[in-house]
């Protein structure tokens, strides 16, 4: 490419970008930076599907109080630096009123500085508690998935109920796995459960026999696996092959369609805490958010032909929250007044109480930007290819 061509290309790009930024002042523009490629793509694909569906559903019903919803979707490639770039683009070029970012914890942590400085509310779809804590430094940041501590506590509580005294752990050596281990270590003191051995593996590791045999040798009552498919499947299979006979616990990151499909009958008896959307058809109707979950599942199923993953649920909730907050802000501010609208949105989100959504009932407050409690973790066992809630 000659230099001249390069300059033309740059100018063309700039023009294109400028053009894209000139959305109609009436539209409510939301930016979304999701991992469509890269290691987190299996999580991101569900999120993208949910966001697109939400946008369509809202606009088909006439928009948000007459204003068209426009979700600008960018791919972060699971890379924190790219996530920062994407969010900055969404803020400055597309004038997004709020952003939904990102799929993984490192990415979400990376964009905190940007959204804080720009004064743009961000709803993260990732697990780590440090995304919204300490709240004093997270004025503009919220998240929809329950804190990983909530999910871990539910499992630990179940372990105590099952009479588990010794525990083994194996997880990813990335943010997700390390996060799970950290929360586990925080949750164990006082339960009488002894953590005998911890192992880790890379997401792309193809053979876990070494780690599995070491864990199996320690013969703990239960083993907790903290990964996403297919890693979690491989780990469990390796442990079974190594002769481990105890109780298997998996994590909520496993709940996309791959887990059950790959594991088959060998998964019977596995216990894990899942998000409500996973057991949508066994939720007691007394649960206040049960109808929201079922509506979501029905809509998603009709559009895509398969049940949604929990990640899709997180994204849907982001949509629901932003929609509700927008309705509040529109009463006094126009989407064209970007700065005021962003600020208004933030305040509105923080003020949501008893907000029923797919992941549970959100109770945001100035001290809690996660908003979900223990009702968002449902303990289940795997039986014959389905999840059965534990009584």
């Amino acid at each position: 490419m000659t230099r001249t061509k390069q300059w033309i290309l740059t100018l063309l790009t700039a023009a294109l970008a400028g053009f894209a930024g000139a959305a109609l002042a009436q539209d409510i523009v939301i930016g979304a930076a999701i991992a469509q490629t890269g290691p987190a793509s299996s999580l991101g694909s569900g999120e993208v599907d949910a966001l697109k569906l939400f946008e369509k559903q809202v606009n088909d019903a006439g928009g948000i109080m007459g204003h068209k919803l426009k979700i600008v979707l960018l791919d972060t490639a699971s890379d924190p630096s790219k996530a920062v770039l994407d969010v900055r683009k969404l803020i400055t070029e597309d004038n997004a009123l709020a952003v939904v970012c990102c799929t993984t914890s490192p990415e979400s942590l990376a964009v905190i500085d940007t959204v804080q400085r720009a004064g743009v509310p961000n709803i993260s779809l990732a697990a780590s508690a440090s995304i919204v804590q300490p709240v004093s430094d997270r004025h503009w940041v919220f998240k929809t998935p329950p804190l990983d501590s909530v999910m871990v506590s539910a499992e630990v509580k179940d372990m105590v109920a099952q009479g588990v005294k010794t525990l083994g752990f194996i997880g990813f050596n990335d943010a997700y796995g390390q996060g799970g281990l950290n929360e586990l270590k925080k949750a164990l003191p006082g339960t009488g459960i002894d953590l005998l051995d911890t192992e880790s593996f890379a997401r792309t590791d193809t053979n876990l026999s070494s780690q599995a045999s070491k864990l199996a040798e320690a013969k703990p009552d239960a083993i907790l696996i903290w990964a996403i498919p297919p890693g979690g499947n491989v780990a469990q299979k390796a442990l079974q092959d190594a002769g481990y006979q105890g109780i298997f616990y998996q994590s909520y990151g496993m709940t996309n369609e791959t887990f059950l499909r790959l594991g088959g009958a060998s998964l019977n008896g596995t216990r894990l805490s899942v998000l409500p959307v996973i057991v949508h058809d066994s939720l007691p109707s007394s649960l206040p958010f049960a109808s929201v979950v079922q509506d979501f599942v029905r809509t998603y199923q009709a559009a895509y032909g398969s049940a949604p993953s929990s990640f899709a649920g997180h994204a849907w909730d982001a949509g629901l929250i932003l929609e509700a907050a927008s309705k509040q802000v529109l009463a006094s501010t126009s989407p064209g007044d970007v700065k005021a609208f962003r600020s208004g949105l933030r305040d509105a989100i923080e003020g949501l109480h008893g907000f029923q959504a797919v992941d549970g009932t959100f109770d945001f407050s100035p001290t809690d930007h996660s908003g979900l409690g223990s009702t968002s973790a449902v303990m289940v066992t795997v039986q014959d290819g389905t999840y059965r809630p534990v009584q």
């Binding site: 193809t206 070494s210 045999s213 499947n233």
Partner: protein, 337 residues
């Protein structure tokens, strides 16, 4: 660590190592004939595994689509250059019509063996086509150029993998489920099969290179391009065959490993890397060396992961440097010049 555990780790390591060995064989083959370090070697493994899965479960026939597209591009290129390969368009178009016609009728559900065969052939074809489209035009460029080209191939192929099969994982039926207990160590039938298959491939390669005329011609082309040309051996054809065989071997490796570790669109790079390591440690010139190197890396990995899973991989890679240094020193000691 008990003896039982040590034995178990050894077997595990050898099984994994066999896959790395297969990849290493493919790498060395390509390097010997074309002087290209193929960063995208692992992607052939991915394509082989996922195509076989798609053919047997009818879920996604991406690999065949890719083969047809690659063939079409190749045919187009040949047409533009008016070479003999322009006859390629006939089977490509015919195959495409047949494919989409049958696909319209219903999803494919080939028996596993046939699925493996078709997948291997398809991926081998893709390998040859990619050579023709991306490597051959750059003949004579420095080795670093090829490094970047194959990097581009790796990115493109992985992207296509994601496009065709999505980010999910897929399993493939084992040759025979279950394990046998030998000497207190549990070994799965699949692991045994992998080992046997690796050595079978090695033996076949040896026969090919030592006993057949074409195999010898390939070796000649590797040693001296100009000389080979002078005796009528075409380096281009040699490159085509090398890429085809190498891709085929890798596809086979993918099918062998899929039952154990599940196939995903991004399984390629890690495997390719380990295969590369094994091949270089083995000297990057000899086939037995590549196999031994691959096996060694597999065993090293198994023991390192057992000792400390957090740093296991780091230990394996860190050990490469002293091994390489030792190799160089040893070579220098016996140096003639």
């Amino acid at each position: 660590m008990t003896t039982g555990t040590a034995l178990f780790l050894l077997v595990t390591g050898l099984t994994n190592g066999a896959i790395y060995a297969l990849l290493g064989l493919g790498l060395v083959l390509i390097y010997n004939v074309t002087r290209v370090i193929n960063i995208a070697q692992g992607e052939f493994v991915m394509l082989g595994a996922l195509t076989a899965v798609g053919l047997t479960t009818g879920e996604a026939t991406g690999g065949i689509t890719l083969a047809i597209l690659a063939g079409a591009a190749w045919a187009l290129l040949a047409l533009l250059r008016r070479r003999r390969w322009s006859l390629l368009w006939l089977p490509v178009v015919g195959g495409a019509l047949l494919w989409w016609g049958v696909d319209a009728i219903g999803p494919f559900h080939l028996p596993p063996v046939l699925g493996v065969l078709v997948a291997t052939v398809a991926v081998a074809f893709v390998g040859a086509a990619l050579y023709r489209l991306t490597i051959q035009p750059a003949a004579g460029a420095g080795e670093v150029v090829f490094l970047v080209i194959t990097t581009g191939l790796y990115l493109g192929l992985q992207g296509l993998g994601l496009l065709f099969w999505g980010p999910g994982s897929f399993s493939f039926p084992s040759v025979h489920g279950g394990q046998i207990a030998a000497g207190g160590v549990r070994v799965s039938y699949q692991s045994l099969f992998v080992l046997v298959a690796t050595f079978a491939v090695l033996a076949l390669l040896w026969l090919f290179f030592e006993r057949t005329l074409f195999g010898k011609a390939l070796r000649a082309a590797a040693m001296n391009r100009l000389g080979a040309r002078l005796v009528g051996i075409s380096p281009e054809r040699a490159g085509l065959v090398a890429f085809a065989i190498s891709a085929g071997i890798s596809a086979l490796a993918g099918v062998l490993i899929a039952p154990v570790t599940y196939a995903t669109y991004d399984m390629g790079l890690g495997l390719g890397l380990k295969g590369f390591v094994g091949a270089v440690i083995g000297g990057l010139s000899g086939y037995p060396g590549a196999v031994l190197g691959g096996l060694a890396i597999g065993v090293l990995e198994a023991f390192a992961a057992y000792t400390t899973s957090a740093y296991g991989e780091a230990i394996v890679y860190a050990l490469i440097i002293p091994i390489l240094l030792l190799r160089v020193v040893a070579t220098r000691r016996g140096a003639a010049t």
